[in-house]
């Protein structure tokens, strides 16, 4: 979907991207990274809004540099910040954006109503945007990004500033509409939960460099769930008993991390301690969440 090769973007002395090479696969992809990681710069380069200092980007099989702005007809973009003209109604604005994407007036009007209806906007779509709530403004921003039926939708923090219920609804809508329209999605966010909810793949960038590209499913499978155990001597005998009972373990300082299989794992550990004669000093279940993994990668 997007292929970046040794992408560098300098703003004076500041390096926003430092040789980023990444192949963004098709489907719904989450772009994760802390503030200043280079996510927005990467998006702007993918949209062709500014040129890279060096390196190249291909989007939907076309070079951003040679394809020019017409490539953006195939892309929908929902920015993070508020950018809606208060003087227009929701319908007027989305129709205008559809026409600026190249749609004819009649088609733009019809499609605008379809998209806004899918977003569950009723009569309020005829009200001036200045009267809209935060959730409605987000919906209009999403609608203008989807109205021209783009092959790729780039969403920058789409759930930013929404209450939990509106957030859930927005995520569901994004999933439904992009599934229906067969659009690829690049979701830039800080919120790991949003990525888990929507995306098939996750890309983590930090300090302008790629840190990880992984399938969300396999990433979640990799997340460890273990029981931290401390035992007295003979520790080796205890480990041998664990092995005999087909339990994996890892040394972790003075403790052992024993893989958690199910609730019976605790009984198995107790039995191994009893058999080996090693006194059990501590037994506590621990997990490593996606957030821990993200923080480790970013560090």
């Amino acid at each position: 979907m997007i292929e970046a090769r040794r992408l560098v973007k300098q703003f004076g002395a500041v390096s926003a991207l430092a040789g980023l090479s990444v192949e963004v696969p098709e489907g719904r992809v989450g772009l994760l990274g802390p503030n200043g990681a280079g996510k927005s710069t990467f998006i702007k380069l993918a949209l062709g809004i500014f040129s890279p200092t060096s390196g190249s980007v291909e989007v939907l099989g076309e070079s951003v540099t040679t394809a020019g702005p017409t490539l953006r007809q195939r892309i929908g973009y929902m920015p993070e910040h508020d950018c809606l003209p208060a003087r227009l109604t929701g319908v007027e604005f989305v129709v205008e954006m559809a026409q600026i994407s190249g749609m004819a007036r009649q088609a733009a009007i019809q499609r605008t109503h379809e998209v806004l209806n899918h977003l569950r906007m009723g009569e309020e779509k005829y009200r001036p945007i200045s009267e809209y709530s935060g959730g409605m403004r987000q919906k209009v921003k999403l609608a203008q990004g989807l109205v021209h039926g783009p092959e790729l939708v780039i969403l920058d923090e789409p759930t930013s500033g929404l209450d939990p219920q509106a957030r859930r609804e927005m995520l569901r809508t994004i999933r439904t509409l992009t599934e229906l329209g067969h659009s690829n999605v690049l979701l830039s966010t800080h919120i790991l939960h949003d990525v888990e909810q929507i995306c098939d793949h996750v890309i983590i960038v930090s300090q302008g460099k790629l840190q990880m590209v992984e399938q969300v499913e396999s990433l979640l499978a990799k997340l460890e769930d273990w029981i931290e155990v401390r035992v007295g001597e003979p520790r080796d005998a205890f480990c041998a008993e664990l092995k005999k009972r087909k339990l994996d373990w890892q040394e972790h300082g003075p403790a052992l991390r024993v893989s958690f299989r199910d609730d019976e794992t605790f009984d198995v550990i107790l039995a191994a301690a009893e058999e080996s004669g090693a006194p059990l000093l501590q037994m506590e279940r621990a997990t490593r969440a996606l957030e821990d993994l993200y923080l480790e990668v970013v560090k």
Binding site: L47, I49, L71, R72, Q73, C83, I100, V115, G149
Partner: protein, 288 residues
């Protein structure tokens, strides 16, 4: 239509999208449509038309040579021209066009569409060109028509005065593009429409006041080249192949600066203002 059919329609949707020239034209035209609904814009255009009508009735019958009438129409207050209205029109329309997009930040959405910064500028310029067409060019063409009818509807008269038609179009375009680009440049500098309009007014009239004072002091006609209004006067007279007359504090003076310098300076103003707007938009994207 039941929900399944609506879903199917959404699923199978394949947009037919136009090309960039069509997008730019459409964007300019739709904004023109919105602008023309503004009561103040309507008022200024009505004043321009009224003034043209009065000129046709009061001045034209005593005019023997057809060319100065057009220059009078474009002239300043002292020559009962409509220039002040054109400046006013550019201020209230062009002054807010870009500043409004900067203020609500919708500019970022426009630039993420299939438009370059220059395309965006052209679309905004087109809106102003259409407004000026209505406010300035059409009244001037009307003047040409009136002079033709006063000359007995003779087709030969039109043939003999083809230069006048071309000069009217050319000068109309020169005034329009100059004021529009200046107004857009002021508009791109601030997100407050009022400041942009005031800045444009100052950019047009303050240098004019300064150079007229300077001319009064040093009597060097080259100083007049630093004022857009005087530059337009010179270009206009050259286009109509008339001696270069400029107005200084209400008095008219003939100057001899040739055609090359005023034309080149005007072109330089166009390039500088258009570049200033695109650079400003570029900076804006970087800092976002």
């Amino acid at each position: 239509m039941n929900e399944a059919r609506v879903m199917e329609r959404y699923r199978s949707y394949n947009a037919v999208l136009g090309d960039r020239p069509a997008i730019i034209w459409g964007m300019g035209w739709r904004e023109f449509g919105r602008m023309i609904r503004n009561r103040w814009v309507q008022l200024v255009i009505a004043l321009v038309w009224l003034q043209t009508l009065l000129m046709t009735l009061l001045i034209l019958p005593f005019q023997t040579d057809p060319q100065p009438i057009h220059l009078l129409l474009y002239g300043d207050l002292e020559t009962s021209g409509i220039r002040i209205h054109l400046v006013l029109l550019a201020a209230i329309t062009g002054g807010q066009l870009i500043s409004r997009d900067l203020s609500d930040q919708s500019i970022h959405l426009y630039l993420a569409r299939p438009l370059t910064r220059v395309d965006y500028l052209l679309a905004r310029l087109l809106t102003l060109l259409l407004l000026f067409l209505l406010a300035a060019l059409l009244p001037n063409l009307y003047l040409t028509l009136v002079q033709w009818t006063d000359n007995g509807y003779a087709l030969e008269w039109l043939g003999d005065h083809r230069w006048m038609l071309l000069a009217t179009l050319g000068y109309g375009l020169a005034v329009t593009v100059t004021f529009s680009l200046l107004a857009l440049a002021c508009s791109a500098l601030t997100s407050r429409g009022g400041f942009a309009a005031a800045g444009f007014f100052l950019a047009v009239y303050f240098p004019s006041f300064l150079v007229e004072t300077g001319y009064g002091l040093v009597q060097d006609e080259r100083i007049l080249l630093f004022s857009v209004l005087h530059l337009l006067d010179m270009v206009g007279h050259e286009m109509f192949d008339a001696p270069q007359w400029v107005t200084v504090f209400g008095f008219t003076f003939e100057v001899e600066l040739g055609w090359r310098t005023p034309f080149l300076l005007l072109a330089a103003i166009w390039v500088a203002t258009a570049s200033a707007v695109t650079l400003r938009l570029q900076r804006l994207e970087v800092t976002r």
